[in-house]
């Protein structure tokens, strides 16, 4: 196996001090493998263990977290790039490989998946206590994280596809965890199929790029980009668009966003991991992995216009939807879609670091917010904010951590979200002046307006949940420590996580991410644009102020809904812009119903009618020619079988084989005649 390790041998431009990473990088294939192996261990032995398999799941995340952080620290000292591959099969001129990439981008993802995963898995022990499929849950949960690690560690596009779809499978299993209720199954299927539709794009993109370059390795593909490969340049637009469609599915970009809010049907820890570290980040990750391909003018740079437009629609339109939700998890879900829009916009603006930086900070505060939501739901036995209110006092730690997460998400100085959102605003502003043109200028305003909406709906969530009078029936209480500690840990990261990248002061994160074999060609701010930062901050504060004004006083009463009944807009938001309905009415219902039934009808009444008519004609001819031979033969079979005598099989075998031999004999003779004729006439 050691012979299979192939270190990356490409040219290295920048930064100059990249190293191979040594043993730690060579064994990085363990990062996806350990969770996958432990997943099987949980399935087969989990129930017999003292903690019913949770300990194995937790161990796998602990392993990934330690490994990921160790690599992160190493990478912070000296940039690492390492690529290893083992051949799995050859097919024609293509090689199918299992590979692992250890570079700035994948290391960041390992660390995020490991750390957030560790927090969520710990929390889930408390949250899932008493669940009837406890062991199975942790098996699927470990698969979820393991599949994401397969995805981010992949050194080639086929493996990426494998991880990509396995993430989809795990999400299907977890969203439909409570499968006794068909509405959960519907949500699970919606998630799987929406992703599968977008995956058509990914599959086509992978095929176009892989076949054109002749290799599926990211290393080879990006080298071809850097060398200006003309064959790849010719197909680059379509390939780039197809890959972006794949990314839109996983990262829930409009119009593929519909699955994510419904995915709330799964247990809350699933939502937490799904929205923070695994699954929805996959699309942004893919754009990051292929970044030079989109950045270079020779290649898919034209697609960036689409990326920035789709991202900006998503970030604003979906943010508004968060305003009208009563289900706390749905508020957070639409918020995630909106934040993913920010990341996508950054990628479209050519800002690799900014987009992934927001992915990094968002993972902490969104993971945290979902854990807090789970803690609240656990306490009040309802997802709806109309059953909450006033929880600040009975649940102090949940309140404090939720507040920290909300402020971070709203982008309040100096919490994590402030820094990453500012970086995105700065990058759009830069793009507006350097090739992005009018579109980027408009998008900048949309992004700033989005910041207001973000702060506004988070203020609403905080007030409706934690302020005012308690509206529910159950007796709320603070969650056990196994749940609050992970929340506190993530709250800490949500507060300080942004300091890893302060333009002009400490640009660690930028350098960590730049540890790639080839330069990314992105742009990032060298110093803080104080005017823009202040604008962003003021807009966010204005959002909070507005939220306070609207929801502070009589929070958590049904009257809050009425305050927002803006004509036209409110019905539009309440029906989610009718996008879900449109898909149902125009796509799934017709295909499942009339179209499928029509196809089945043609099978019986068109194709088979021809077949049966053919049979009838042949039978009629036979009756004429052979005087009922055929008829008697078939009737004989019918009678013999219907009689059900013990010897039916034997008799049939003897008698009818005789007939068939005669038939075959005649057939053979006829065939010879026909062939002779054919030979004479051709």
């Amino acid at each position: 196996m050691i012979a299979g390790f192939i270190a990356y041998a490409g040219e290295i431009h920048e930064p100059a001090h990249l190293v191979d990473g040594g043993v730690l990088a060579q064994y990085a294939w363990l990062i996806p493998l350990v969770p996958l192996v432990l997943m099987f261990a949980i399935v087969f032995f989990g129930k017999r263990l003292p903690y019913k398999g949770w300990e194995l799941a937790e161990a796998s995340m602990l392993f990934v977290a330690i490994y990921g952080v160790a690599l992160l620290v190493m990478n912070a000292n000296e940039g690492i790039t390492h690529e290893g591959s083992i051949e799995i099969a050859r097919i024609g001129s293509y090689t199918i490989e299992w590979g692992w990439v250890v570079d700035g981008l994948s290391i960041m993802m390992y660390a995020v998946v490991g750390v957030v995963g560790l927090a969520v898995f710990t929390y889930a022990k408390g949250y899932m206590e008493g669940d009837s499929r406890y062991t199975w849950f942790f098996a699927a949960f470990t698969l979820f994280a393991g599949a994401m690690l397969v995805l981010v560690s992949s050194a080639n596009m086929i493996q990426l596809l494998v991880g990509w779809e396995l993430v989809g499978l795990a999400s299907y299993l977890l969203i439909g965890h409570y499968w006794e209720d068909h509405s959960n199954n519907a949500a699970a299927i919606k998630a799987f199929l929406t992703n599968k539709i977008a995956d058509v794009g990914l599959v086509i993109g992978v095929i176009i790029v892989g076949v054109t370059v002749g290799s599926f390795r990211f290393g080879d593909i990006l080298s071809a980009v850097s060398a200006g490969d003309s064959a790849l340049a010719q197909v680059a637009f379509w390939a780039g668009l197809a890959l972006f469609i794949g990314a839109m599915g996983k990262s829930a970009q409009f119009p593929f966003h519909v699955w994510l809010p419904d995915a709330m049907a799964g247990p809350t820890p699933v939502s937490s991991l799904m929205h923070a570290a695994t699954m929805v980040t996959a699309g942004v990750y893919l754009l990051g992995r292929m970044f030079p391909f989109y950045q270079s003018d020779l290649f898919a740079a034209d697609v960036k216009t689409w990326i920035i437009i789709i991202g900006s629609i998503t970030l604003f339109a979906m943010g508004l939807l968060a305003l009208v939700q009563d289900d706390l998890k749905r508020v957070l879900a639409y918020s995630t879609v909106s934040q993913l829009g920010y990341m996508t916009v950054a990628m479209g603006a050519g800002a690799y670091t900014a987009g992934l930086f927001h992915l990094f900070t968002h993972a902490f505060f969104k993971g945290l917010l979902f854990l807090c939501a789970g803690s609240v739901i656990h306490a009040v036995h309802s997802n709806n904010m109309s059953d909450m209110g006033g929880l600040r006092k009975p649940m102090p730690w949940t309140y404090r951590t939720f507040l920290a997460g909300s402020l971070a998400l709203a982008g309040i100085f100096p919490l994590a979200g402030f820094w990453s959102k500012d970086e995105i605003l700065a990058s759009i502003s830069y793009d507006a002046g350097h090739g992005g043109g009018a579109i980027a200028s408009v998008v900048l305003w949309i992004a700033i307006a989005g910041a207001f909406v973000t702060a506004f709906y988070m203020a609403r969530a905080v007030y409706l949940t934690f302020f005012g009078e308690y509206q529910g029936q159950a007796h709320p209480h603070e969650s056990p420590r196994v749940m609050t500690y992970p929340m506190i840990g993530l709250a800490g990261l949500s507060i300080v996580g942004g300091f890893v990248n302060v333009p002009g002061l400490f640009t660690g994160f930028t350098e960590w991410l730049a540890a790639r074999p080839l330069p990314m060609g992105d742009h990032h701010a060298e110093s803080i644009d104080f005017a823009l930062a202040a604008t962003g901050l003021l807009v966010a504060l204005a959002g909070i102020a507005a939220g306070t004004r609207v929801w502070r006083r009589d929070a958590a009463t049904q009257r809050e809904r009425d305050r927002f009944r803006v004509p036209l807009l409110y019905p539009l938001l309440e029906h989610r812009y009718f996008v879900d309905d449109l898909y149902r009415v125009a796509l799934t219902d017709p295909i499942k119903g009339p179209v499928a039934r029509f196809i089945d009808w043609t099978n019986t009444y068109v194709i088979d009618a021809v077949v049966n008519a053919f049979g009838a004609v042949a039978k009629g001819l036979a009756r004429v020619v052979y005087g009922g031979f055929d008829q008697r033969g078939i009737d004989f079979v019918v009678n013999a079988v219907a009689g059900g005598t013990n010897e039916a099989g034997e008799m049939l075998r003897r008698t009818t084989t005789g007939r068939v031999q005669q038939y075959a004999g005649a057939l053979f003779g006829g065939a010879v005649l026909l062939v002779v004729g054919l030979l004479i006439f051709t």
């Binding site: 519907a186 299927i189 051709t682």
Partner: protein, 523 residues
């Protein structure tokens, strides 16, 4: 070990089941256990010999026919007993011997009515000889005999042990029993196809000089251009009919849903796992090498029909109310991917076709086993009456979910490689083929995977999930028993192993396919 070098190892694989059939036939009818034991022993012998063949197989020369025997047989027409396997037929041969053993293990205590294990086993063993023989035959007459030999046992299996419910069919005045309609339709449909196929074989024989039925020599002649022109076009069309019915390709597929639905469980399993492959194998082994020029002319047609099959089959699946019929229709779509791979005439596409055939064999075979076991317990196949199966039978339900995931082409399981590589092949078909047609086919095929996922997931939701209906409360619904698990575990392992490590198949096929493509199309 000597037997393979001596050249009779393959004959052992083919004829051991036939010998077993003879012995079972001699037994008194009452001695059921003895009949089962003999059948199992002889098919195990056949499986063991095929495993030994794999062990002894020279993987550095997969493009050559190994363990060959070439004896004079019917000298009057120059037909010879010529057999051998290369990297393309080897995986299919192993699949065939394995599925036969599993079928016998499964049927150990699952006998369809009207019982009579003796007759059933004789037919099964006969079927095994036909299937194994088709994959080793290198002479067209021999191929035809084995190909047709398969027909009879399956006809009786469906006709005698099949589904007895009466159905009303358009164009029939009275209601007919499903099994009778299905078995006769299956028989005549296939015979119709193979009559043309035989015609094609004879035409090739008479055209070749000296007259021969030998595949290798015909391929050489064909690649020299002997069969070009109108003659070749007619011959290709004739062979196409024979193989396309068997695959089955749209619109010649309508025997399949009826036959699969009506057949007893084991019959459906073997029908799906092996019999369909005889058609696609025929394309790869006979049509492409012998008639390369016509293959290139026909390739776009095959590609279009394959894509129609993918979309049509998947949409038809969405409308099914019968679990077994749904699985049957899924074969139409899956074999569409196999044919799409073949139609690209590239090494990638044909490799995809072979792994797709193997994967479809284990996956759909497994699905039919499961459907059979569920029918055995619920006494219905109606999807609307099922539901909550996961609660009632967690093992069978779990396996159904696993296999359905494999069937929808989940990466990491066997079904993925055939689909993905077929799409990859159609992005870049053989030089000279229409890029527009094949790239459109790629997109349509990729959309087909969405529909496949759709019907599989909706099937799972309605059958496996939710709360079980009250109808089943109080019924004794036992979960999988030992014989069932013994038959299924090897398939689960295979589905997983091929998915994770496709070299199991590609390792054998790759060089063989590349050489075939190079010789036939110079690619």
């Amino acid at each position: 070990m000597e037997m393979f070098d001596g050249g009779w190892g393959l004959s052992l694989i083919v004829f051991l089941p036939l010998v077993g059939a003879g012995l079972v036939l001699l037994l008194p009818k009452r001695q059921e256990s003895a009949a089962k034991a003999i059948a199992l022993l002889f098919t195990l012998g056949s499986l063991g010999a095929s495993v030994l063949a794999v062990v002894r197989f020279d993987f550095d020369a997969t493009e050559q026919f190994q363990f060959g025997t070439d004896l004079s047989w019917i000298s009057a027409i120059g037909s010879r007993y010529h057999i051998g396997i290369d990297g393309i037929s080897m995986p299919l041969l192993v699949l065939s011997t394995l599925m036969t053993v599993l079928a016998i293990v499964y049927s150990w205590n699952h006998w369809p009515e009207p019982h009579n294990p003796k007759a059933f086993l004789v037919l099964l063993l006969l079927l095994a000889t036909g299937m194994n023989g088709t994959f080793v035959a290198l002479d067209l007459v021999l191929f035809f005999i084995f190909f047709e030999l398969v027909l009879l046992p399956m006809y009786f299996m469906i006709g005698i042990w099949g589904d007895r419910t009466k159905i009303r069919l358009p164009g029939f005045r009275r209601e007919v029993e499903t099994r009778l309609y299905a078995s006769i339709k299956f028989f005549l449909f296939t015979l119709f196809g193979s009559a043309f196929m035989l015609l094609g074989f004879l035409a090739l024989y008479f055209k070749s000089d000296p007259h021969t039925f030998d595949m290798a020599r015909l391929a050489e002649a064909g690649q020299m251009g002997l069969f070009d022109g109108t003659f070749g076009a007619w011959v290709f069309a004739a062979l196409f009919l024979g193989f396309a019915v068997k695959v089955p390709m749209w619109p010649l597929h309508t025997w399949l849903p009826d036959a699969h639905t009506a057949a007893p469980t084991v019959g459906s399993v073997l029908l799906a796992a092996i019999l369909l492959k005889l058609g696609s194998y025929g394309f790869i082994r006979i049509s492409l090498p012998i008639l390369p020029q016509q293959a290139q002319d026909w390739a776009p047609v095959i590609a279009v029909l394959a894509v129609i099959a993918i979309i049509y089959g998947s949409l038809a699946c969405l409308a099914q109310t019968d679990l077994k019929r749904l699985i049957a229709f899924s074969s139409v779509g899956h074999m569409g991917f196999v044919m799409l791979g073949i139609s690209t005439l590239t090494d990638v596409g044909i490799n995809a076709a072979v792994i797709g055939m193997v994967a479809h064999g284990v996956i759909t075979g497994m699905l039919f086993f499961l459907a059979g076991s569920m029918q055995h317990r619920y006494h219905t196949r109606e999807i609307a009456r099922l539901g909550g199966n996961m609660k009632l039978m967690p093992v069978i339900g779990g396996l159904l979910a696993f296999t359905a995931m494999a069937s929808l082409g989940l990466p990491g399981l066997a079904g993925f490689w055939g689909e993905f590589m077929a799409l990859l092949g159609s992005f870049n078909p053989l030089d000279g083929l229409s890029l527009t047609v094949f790239r459109s086919a790629m997109v349509a095929g990729a959309i087909g995977t969405v529909l496949t996922a759709g019907y599989m997931l909706w099937m799972l939701q309605r059958v496996n999930l939710g709360e079980p209906s009250d109808e089943w409360s109080g019924h004794d619904l036992h979960d999988a028993d030992g014989f069932e698990l013994a038959a299924w575990v090897p398939l689960v392992v295979a589905i997983f192993a091929i998915g994770v490590f496709p070299k199991i198949v590609f390792g054998a096929t790759n060089d063989a396919v590349s050489e075939l493509v190079r010789r036939a199309f110079g690619g």
